[in-house]
């Protein structure tokens, strides 16, 4: 019977570890998606600058406060502008950026299909 409480304690500790691991995972994911604004070509995750260290700490605190990933991104976007996000948002300035590859792909497909049917 002594076994049960010990087993329970161990399982709780293990579960906490899992929870923490999940937090670190999202923390790293967010940091990887953010541009280190004072570095050259580095993400916040890669950088060891004072700015990046503080920003990682902020992300950690926000996760612990219960903010979702999206909320953290929008918080940082509000503070630093869209440039901090690696993923450009779909808006008036980026229509061309997002749609051009699709258009080229479709045009290429159309050309191939046309050639194929013409040969037939």
């Amino acid at each position: 019977m002594k076994f049960i409480p010990i087993f329970l304690i161990i399982s709780i500790i293990l579960n906490f570890n899992l929870l923490k691991a999940d937090e670190i995972k999202t923390e790293n994911k967010i940091a990887k998606n953010l541009r280190c604004l004072i570095c050259q070509g580095q993400s916040v995750y890669d950088s060891d600058s004072e700015f990046a260290i503080s920003l990682k700490l902020v992300i950690k605190n926000k996760i612990q406060q219960g903010l979702s990933e999206e909320q953290i991104y929008s918080f940082l976007k509000m503070k630093y502008g869209e440039w901090i996000l690696y993923d450009p948002v779909f808006n008036r300035n980026t229509y061309f950026l997002w749609l051009l590859p699709i258009l080229i792909f479709l045009a290429g497909g159309a050309i191939i299909i046309k050639r194929f049917y013409n040969k037939k």
């Binding site: 604004l37 630093y80 050309i111």
Partner: protein, 172 residues
């Protein structure tokens, strides 16, 4: 007819893409954050630099005065450069200087102020740098001009004579 049409479209697309990329070449690829903002002052609760009492932002920026929130550290070399300008600004009664001691050691920061003078009305210490992220700061030195609980202008990097004149022009 058809075979003439496709190359024309292709050339047209190529030309448009070329023009866009060519124009893009001339754009500056250095990111310059906007310095004119009308953002609310982020609220914070930080420890005072001199003693460990807690200072709330609402208490600092309460009246209709102008404030210059200056992020500084004793380990930051450009901060020494801008210090003489801050001392000049201290003499102006229309503006109050708030020091934001960034990731610093108390002893070194105190001797920094002892050597160069203390221009600040209040100093708060941001030990881990998270409060300056809330302000949208990039690092040290950086200053924010605050009026009526709004950030009206930010100065990234050390304050120089030109910035000083600009501040004086705004608060006049």
């Amino acid at each position: 007819m058809k075979s003439k049409f496709i190359p024309l479209i292709l050339i047209f697309i190529f030309l448009i893409t070329f023009v866009i990329f060519f124009k893009g070449l001339k754009n500056s690829n250095i990111y310059t954050p906007s310095t004119k903002l009308k953002k609310e002052v982020p609220s914070f609760e930080l420890k005072s630099f001199e003693n460990n009492s807690i200072i709330i932002s609402e208490k600092i920026f309460e009246d209709n005065k102008y404030y210059l929130m200056n992020i500084w550290a004793s380990w930051c070399v450009p901060c020494k450069e801008e210090h003489k300008f801050l001392m000049k600004l201290k003499k102006d009664e229309r503006i109050e200087l708030i020091g934001f001691n960034y990731k610093d050691n108390f002893k070194k920061a105190s001797s920094f102020l002892k050597d160069l003078g203390n221009p600040y009305h209040i100093i708060v210490s941001d030990k881990d740098g998270t409060a300056s992220i809330e302000w949208g700061a990039y690092g040290v030195p950086e200053s924010f001009l605050v009026h009526q609980n709004k950030i009206i202008k930010r100065f990234i990097g050390p304050i120089n004579n030109k910035d000083l004149l600009e501040i004086e022009k705004i608060i006049r």
